[in-house]
């Protein structure tokens, strides 16, 4: 990792440590922690990490931005940082200048389509849009009747938003656009399609899930060294040790898959089958790790980890919720499986061993 990447990630890490301590957030029923955190992130230029300087952003590399998302995952922070970063990245693809404030991307699910009419207005419905209610603007990917893609900046106030919550208790809303005139709209670059947007989002979520698992491992190990049962620390019981070793394995697998995918996208010259494999595999493997790893973390914590007072749910439920954003692991598994079958049996190993 280059020196500069470490500086961006370290900046993010320090802000989270100062302003997004899980215990403090958990006790803050009014959500008063959010404003100072968002202000600090904005002051550091992090929400627009992936926006070039001439488009109003801080011009960090893709790799630097991904390392910020890793850190965000380790703190499981419920602010639209990943979403604003993705939105800024999407707008930058069409050289649309990013506005200030919270953003999110539309659509966020592979089944949803936003269409653009001849008059440039946008219509359609997008479900499970993270933090739509909190966003001031949406970065929208839309297709016309010929299947050509456009990227648009839309004022959130012009759309209908039905509030919803995901498993982790964060906003996950339904956004309806009814002939909405965008603030700006431009053609997407050649070859850019909804799959690319969703896989970029999927890799962002994979890094966040992996980060949450790292934290679940850490707090589970710490707890097992504190909690005494049957007159000894539970960390001394072999069964508990083996469970934690499995959690370490899931955490490591998630991290390996997610960082590999982020690296692949950061260095890709084209969005070929190898990059598709990296991105889909990350989402699939991280989602599986969230299920297995989260289960073990709760098991180690016993009933206390099930309470609202404990911080464990901040990580475990978000990791589970993030599985559904930008295409679930089931969806991407079907897509990956189809692509593997089309390539044929003898081309499977060359694909796996391509990097």
């Amino acid at each position: 990792m280059a020196e500069s990447e470490n500086i961006v990630a370290e900046t993010a890490e320090k802000i989270f440590a100062d302003l997004a301590d899980a215990q403090t957030i958990n006790h803050d029923k009014k959500g008063e922690w959010k404003a100072p955190l968002w202000q600090a992130l904005t002051d550091a230029g992090l929400p627009l990490s992936w926006v070039p300087e001439d488009c109003g952003g801080s011009g960090a590399s893709l790799a630097e931005g991904f390392s910020v998302l890793s850190a965000a995952g380790r703190f499981a922070v419920a602010v639209p940082l990943a979403e604003t970063m993705l939105a800024g990245w999407l707008l930058a693809q069409a050289k649309i200048i990013s506005p200030d404030g919270e953003m999110t991307v539309v659509p966020a699910s592979p089944k949803d389509r936003i269409t653009v009419s001849a008059d440039g207005s946008l219509s359609g419905r997008a479900r499970g849009v993270p933090f739509a209610k909190a966003a001031r603007h949406f970065a929208v990917l839309a297709s016309d009747a010929k299947g050509s893609f456009s990227i648009a900046l839309v004022d959130a106030g012009k759309c209908r938003i039905e509030s919803g919550l995901n498993l982790g208790g964060d906003q996950s809303d339904v956004v309806t656009l009814d002939k909405v005139q965008p603030v700006a709209i431009k053609p997407a670059p050649h070859g850019f399609d909804q799959t690319r947007l969703l896989l970029m989002g999927g890799v962002a979520r994979s890094l966040q899930i992996a980060g949450a698992l790292e934290s679940m491992l850490e707090i589970s190990v710490r707890y097992s060294n504190e909690r005494v049962a049957f007159e000894k620390k539970i960390s001394k019981f072999q069964a508990v040790q083996h469970n934690l070793a499995r959690l370490a394995g899931e955490s490591a697998a998630a991290l390996a898959a997610a960082t590999s995918a982020a690296d692949a996208i950061s260095n890709a010259t084209s969005f070929n089958d190898e990059v598709f494999l990296e991105a889909t595999a990350a989402k699939i493997r991280c989602a599986e790790a969230a299920e297995k790893g989260g289960g073990i973390a709760h098991q180690v914590h016993g009933a206390i980890g099930f309470t609202i007072e404990h911080i464990l749910h901040r990580y475990s439920l978000r990791a589970l919720a993030w599985r559904d954003d930008f295409g679930s692991e089931s969806y991407w598994a079907v897509e990956l499986g189809k692509r593997v079958c089309v390539r044929g049996a003898d081309e499977l190993w060359p694909l796996v061993a391509s990097r």
Partner: protein, 386 residues
């Protein structure tokens, strides 16, 4: 973060891709010549001396070792490529694999110079086969419980006792084994074991084959009766084998052979399903491919750590733990999906035969090279739990 388990996204350098092409071309030639059948993992004739010599001639044995011992001073990542291509092709590597992966590096580190000069070049030429003598009846994964004695005598040691589950002992020219030279001490249960280079096919060694449930004869019982080993065949420190043996295990536990052993059933499933899969088949295959991809990324990452001179003991144990569980589950998952394969699939019979063999192979995968339970103990230690 306490755990700090990093698996950096190591990419194979360009020269590895050139090498991969060479290995694939070589394997294609050998398959065309009838040396082995890539669709038959359950070969009766897995020992193919001629194949070993050809691999040696290509410079693919002892790849990372110094040139003065016949090695090629190439990287762990290049060796990684050769290993995975051989494994995926089901090439007959039994004769050279243990020597190349493990025995050679042990000799490099602990053997006297004249032994290195004598034996290492022959491993590089693919001429000799090694076995590893660790387990004993009633010891198994509990290395400290080994009882086979090495008793000091004039100019060497006399060996008495039995090793078991010793793969390839029936064809091996040498074995690197641990024997008991002193009793364990109260303070250190690990004390008293010494590593020796054993020349097989000598008086005082009897090899008895043990059949496996796959129908293969790969395991052996090796009985030592007053077998003499000269002093210069002691490897490393007397009574200090435990440390030596464990420091080598990262090589044994993280390689591609630790998640690809049943991989062939996945390839064959894709062939049977064809290019227009139903949703269930597509999803099942997608999940399995995501797994193998992730395992490989982790394994390549550990190869990169080895190349960087690190000793990734915990990381290697994680790769072995989840890798062998994955390759153990793979035939069962493929079986579930194969239930929907059309009767007319041309490779149906091959797939069924492979599934039969892979399912029978599966139980040993989480045992060889350190049981799952032992590995989880090592990981737990790395997490600071013990």
């Amino acid at each position: 973060m306490t755990a700090a388990l990093r698996f950096d996204p190591i990419r194979l350098p360009e020269k590895c891709e050139q090498l991969r092409k060479e290995v694939r071309a070589f394997l294609a030639e050998e398959i065309a010549a009838g040396t082995f059948d890539p669709h038959k993992p359950n070969r009766e004739d897995t020992d193919v001396p001629e194949f070993s010599r050809k691999v040696g001639e290509r410079g693919w044995l002892g790849m990372t070792w110094p040139k003065k011992y016949g090695g090629h001073e190439r990287s762990f990542l290049e060796r990684y490529v050769v290993t995975e291509e051989m494994r995926v092709a089901n090439a007959p590597t039994r004769r050279f694999f243990v020597a190349d992966r493990q025995s050679g590096p042990v000799l490099l580190k602990y053997a006297p110079e004249h032994i290195k000069m004598e034996i290492l070049p022959r491993i590089c030429k693919g001429e000799i086969c090694f076995a590893i003598g660790m387990s004993e009846p009633n010891s198994g994964s509990d290395l400290f419980a080994a009882k086979t004695r090495a008793t000091k005598t004039d100019g060497g040691y006399l060996i008495n006792g039995t090793k078991i589950w010793t793969s390839s002992a029936h064809i091996a020219d040498y074995m690197i084994a641990i024997f008991r030279t002193s009793p364990p001490t109260k303070e250190n249960r690990r004390h008293g074991l010494t590593q020796f280079l054993v020349k097989m096919k000598q008086p005082g060694i009897k090899v008895n084959p043990i059949g496996q449930i796959t129908g293969q004869y790969e395991f052996n019982e090796v009985v030592f009766t007053d077998h003499f080993i000269p002093d210069d065949h002691v490897l490393g420190e007397i009574d200090g084998a435990w440390k030596q043996a464990t420091s080598e295990l990262a090589y044994e536990r993280s390689g591609p052979e630790r998640f690809l052993e049943t991989y062939y059933v996945l390839t064959e499933l894709v062939r049977a399903v064809g290019n227009n899969p139903d949703t269930r088949s597509a999803e099942g295959i997608g999940r399995l491919v995501a797994q193998v991809h992730t395992m490989r990324r982790m394994s390549v990452s550990v190869a990169g750590m080895l190349q960087a001179g690190k000793e990734p003991v915990v990381e290697a144990s994680i790769v072995k733990d989840i890798g062998t569980i994955w390759e153990q589950q793979l035939p069962h998952r493929v079986r579930e999906l194969a239930a929907f394969v059309e009767e007319t699939a041309t490779n149906r019979e091959t797939l069924e035969k492979q599934l039969d063999f892979a399912t029978k192979t599966a139980p040993k995968l989480t045992i060889q090279g350190g049981t799952t339970e032992v590995l989880r103990g090592i990981i737990a230690r790395g997490l600071g739990l013990r």
